[in-house]
Amino acid sequence: MTSTRIPSPARAGRPAHRARRALASLGLLALTTALAALSPAPADDPLPPLPDKWPVGGVEVLHARPFTLAQPAVHAWRAEQPKYSAGMVLVLAVDKALATPRQTAEPILYVGDQTAARLNAGSESGRLVVVVPAPLGADGKVALDLTAAPIFFGTPGLPEQVDAAAAKRELQAAKRAGIAPPTAAAVKAALQDQVAFDGELQLRLYASDLIEQFSPQEADLVSGLRAKPVTR
């Protein structure tokens, strides 16, 4: 997108114009004051509180698309920064409070013992589009059995600081807390055919379609993901 905005005319002018401008400024000031008086005062807009105890379940799978990548990508949501060539794109229904972005520690979303890479905020829709790296089976299918993988929000922190041991601890805690994997029926209803992407860029474009569909409030995110590539 290219746009041009023309600013207001140059500020200073000839002295003869200054008196007129001063009067105009006074008028503008009065108008501004009147508008300010009519505008509602800014209201409290706090973040929704988080639970005291973790992990927290209650996540539903709405869409599950296995994929492969011809060009491996880095899973930045793990301390090991592993590369992956396959995985699953999920659309999850979650508690909006848990999804609301925070600058401080956020609850980390797990699918089994793997951190899920969140591609959108989901705070208004309660829908998260995520990527979960997974190995590829001998049959060429993505080896992620969602019916055996509890999906939950674990201890708040930074995903890039979560290593394999920490992820396993979180999964064990989820199991102890009785957080069950999605039912077979839910997975069956959500599961789509496996798709092959050239690389992460194509994967993200696919995700942008899902965000547009499931979390339409995030139009800026969608347009940002679809920004026109630079060409010579």
């Binding site: 997108m1 290219t2 746009s3 600013p7 140059a10 005062a41 925070r102 940002g224 590539p229 630079v230």
Partner: protein, 782 residues
């Protein structure tokens, strides 16, 4: 110089005499003092009278050596404070009088070609105790200026009566102020005050004519006995402020004493130099004159960028770059208010996709890769519009929340060598600015090192809250880790989301400011910030430190009673400042970090880390409640004390010998904060003020109140939670007092012999009661 005593010898005779002196020089000792107008270093106008004083053995022959270089030069093992260049000449002063002190008058020559030059002097007196030996004095210097003096000012209701400033808002009056006690030559003088378009010294020499921009000069008579009665309005607010893409139109203020409409050698001038006498600035909250083009594109994974640049960039030179790294859950398209504003003034702004969700390390990576990508693809981005027009060596990084920590970490990674940029270096990044940053990575990694660092903080932030319970949410940590120039703006009633232009304020607390007014404040502060740091704009600096109540952008939302702005400003150590006490070393309360004695009569006096020791702001046993400048691994420290009662109370810092000659400094600077929820604070919930007194070695003292410019040290934002009570975290505000302000009305204070800085409290001296934090007591040059 025209010497009233002694004769200038011929060069040959001088050389012979000097040789003889030097041959007699071993052994030599420092038993002679040389002062000019009572100081070792002076700056004087042409035609000014100087008093030269030399001490030494009575009856001994004395000489004055004058050179163009300060040396030092080692001769016979002695380090002498003179260059001994071929230009040096010697003046015989004759025998020392019986009192052992020789004093004579000199008039500086009136020759334009000498303007701006400095001459270095040393006295040599025959040593009366040792036959054949000589005593050498200290070095001294005389700088020949025009009749440069501070003239452009705002009147003040109390002492020091005049506020000499660099920036005046368009439409505001400009006054000329003359202190007859410091400038007795002007007492009773009638003259014409000219406001002229700024000229460089070279331009003044080639064209000394005075052309008043208002059409005619203002007649003034300095008949008053003190400064307050010698302040006259010279302009009611008519001066042009249209600086195009810059800030401030420069003017020189001249007092034409002889009425010839020329800048004569005796005419005082404010602005004889590269810097103008004063600048008139337009409304910096309003857009600049340039049309702006915005382009959104992607260079690949995590390389989405929103670019803003002047539409007519093809006809422009090389422009500075400002980048924006957004926060978690934010979007790179949410910073139009920054992009359009700065681009309309000739900056290139690039806001980029920032990988904040995994964490700050990931975010720092996308800051680095996006800057590298932009700089490496100037030939293709926006059709190559930026090619040849982006100054790669003049970059500012702005980051918001996790992105605010990310930009500091990104800089740290370059310094640490864990990221090596392809298309720029750390030296190209001139400013790092964090908006409400987190502090996940802590002392070692979330640090901007020595780059100029700037911080925004919102008092109503409901995300990076600043509460004592969470180190990650305490933005001030990064400011206090910065080792270079530090500036900060903290805003009461502003939420986390108010800093971007999408929906949501993420704010909680009383008297919320809202997004519209926050953006107005941001525009009005951001432009001076980048103009100052990237382009060295002179009047822009005023916006970064002067009390908001006294000086703010014309369009600032001052009608909104919720708007409260606190500013911090601290020059880099490399600026030549002297730290009297930053409380980092010498933890004993009786010794400053510079080694001077600290005495106090105030109660509850303690030094410690500026880090609330528990997890809330509830008032309790700790004096350091409410401070969030550091975490347990940080070293930032400060001072806290109470004041109250009918008797005067003091905190006094002795100035060590190394800084007692304060004539080379321009400002006394410190930062102060009211301590939240302390009874001493809440009892009088308003700006607090106190008195600062300087004392010299001769018993002279002079005092200035910290509310002389309106405002004082702001009360804490009255937000609740984070424990019991009202009041959020402590917010430092910098107070800068011109050292010359302590000289108004003939106080007699000798700044070449400064011995103590004293903070005084009590009736007539301060607010009635308070608990104060104090830090970074410094003498600064600028």
């Amino acid at each position: 110089m025209n010497h009233h005593r002694g004769q200038t010898p011929s060069r040959a005779r001088a050389a012979a005499l000097l040789s003889a002196l030097l041959l007699c020089a071993a052994p030599a000792a420092r038993a002679s003092d040389l002062l000019i107008n009572g100081q070792p270093d002076v700056s004087v106008a042409q035609g000014a009278s100087l008093t030269v004083s030399v001490t030494g053995t009575p009856g001994a022959l004395s000489y004055l050596l004058v050179d163009v270089s300060p040396g030092p030069t080692v001769i016979f093992g002695q380090s002498l404070p003179l260059g001994f260049t071929p230009a040096m000449f010697t003046v015989g002063l004759g025998p020392m009088p019986g009192a052992g002190e020789l004093s004579f008058q000199v008039v500086t020559p009136v020759q334009p070609e000498l303007l701006g030059h400095t001459f270095y002097l040393m006295a040599v007196v025959a040593d009366g105790a040792t036959a054949g030996a000589s005593d050498f004095s200290n070095g001294a210097s005389v700088h020949i200026g025009g009749r440069e003096m501070q003239l452009a000012a705002n009147p003040l209701p109390g002492y020091p009566h005049a506020e000499y400033v660099r920036a005046f808002n368009a439409g505001a009056p400009v006054s000329v102020a003359v202190d007859p006690t410091q400038h007795p030559e002007l007492a009773g003088v009638s003259c014409s005050a000219y406001v002229v378009a700024h000229k460089s010294p070279e331009q003044w020499v080639s064209d000394p004519s005075l052309a008043d921009v208002r059409g005619a000069p203002t007649p003034v008579t300095f008949s008053g006995a003190d400064l307050a009665s010698n302040i006259f309005t010279v302009d009611g607010g008519t001066l042009n402020a249209n600086a195009g893409t810059s800030i401030g139109v420069g003017y020189d203020l001249v007092l034409d004493l002889d009425g010839d409409a020329q800048l004569g050698n005796l005419d005082p001038i404010d602005g004889f130099g590269a810097e103008a006498g004063f600048y008139v600035v337009h409304d910096v909250t309003q857009p600049g004159p340039l049309a702006v083009t915005e382009v959104i594109y992607s260079g690949g994974i995590w390389l989405g960028q929103d670019l803003y640049y002047p539409t007519n960039i093809a006809g422009m030179g090389q422009l500075p770059l400002v980048t924006v790294s957004h926060g978690n859950g934010h979007n790179y398209q949410w910073y139009d208010h920054i992009g359009y504003h700065l681009a309309s003034y000739g900056f290139i702004v690039m806001s980029h996709e920032n990988n904040t969700q995994p964490g700050v390390e990931s975010a720092s990576g996308t800051t680095l890769t996006n800057v590298d990508y932009l700089l490496g693809h100037l030939d293709t981005i926006a059709g190559g519009a930026l090619l040849g027009h982006l100054d790669k060596h003049n970059i500012a990084w702005i980051g918001h929340s996790r992105g605010g920590e990310g930009v500091a970490r990104a800089y740290d990674r370059i310094i640490d060598g864990t990221y090596v940029p392809v298309n720029f270096t750390s030296a190209d990044v001139r400013l790092v600015s964090s908006i409400a940053p987190t502090d996940f990575l802590g002392t070692v990694s979330a640090t901007p090192h020595g780059v100029d660092y700037h911080l925004w903080v919102g008092g109503a932030d409901a995300d990076v809250t600043g509460c004592a319970s969470n180190d990650i949410a305490q933005s001030f940590h990064l400011l206090d880790r910065a080792e270079g120039k530090r500036t900060c703006i903290s805003l009461h009633g502003v939420g986390h989301g108010d800093f971007h232009d999408s929906v949501g304020s993420v704010a909680t607390g009383p008297c919320l400011v809202g997004k519209t007014d926050t953006h107005t404040i941001m525009r009005g502060y951001l432009l001076p910030l980048v103009e100052h740091h990237l382009l060295g704009n002179v009047p822009a600096q005023d916006f970064l430190w002067r009390q908001w109540e006294r000086f703010h952008p014309i369009g600032a939302p001052v009608l909104n009673p919720c708007v409260v702005v606190d500013l911090q400003y601290s020059p880099a150590p490399t600026s030549g400042k002297f730290v009297i006490d930053d409380f980092q070393t010498n933890p004993a309360t009786g010794v400053s970090s510079s080694g001077g004695n600290v005495t106090f009569t105030v109660p509850a006096f303690a030094e410690d880390r500026l880090d609330d020791p528990n997890s809330d702001f509830t008032d309790g046993a700790s004096l350091f409640n409410g401070f969030t400048e550091g975490r347990s691994t940080d070293v930032t420290r400060g001072l806290v004390f109470d004041f109250a009662g009918a008797a005067e109370q003091q905190v006094s810092f002795a100035v060590v010998p190394a800084a007692q000659n304060a004539t080379g400094f321009a400002w006394l600077s410190f930062r102060a904060a009211q301590v939240t929820r302390a009874p001493a604070t809440t009892l009088e919930l308003t700006d607090t003020f106190f008195t600062v007194t300087l004392s010299d070695g001769s018993g002279h003292s002079s005092s200035v109140s910290t509310n002389a410019w309106g405002g004082g040290t702001e009360e804490p934002y009255q937000r609740t939670s984070c424990g019991i009570g009202f009041g959020w975290g402590n917010e430092f505000e910098t107070v800068r007092i011109r050292l010359a302000d302590f000289l108004s009305d003939g106080t007699g204070l000798d700044l070449s012999d400064l011995r103590a800085v004293t903070f005084r409290f009590g009736p007539g001296l301060s607010s009635a009661t308070g608990r104060l934090g104090l830090d970074d007591l410094e003498l600064t040059t600028n």
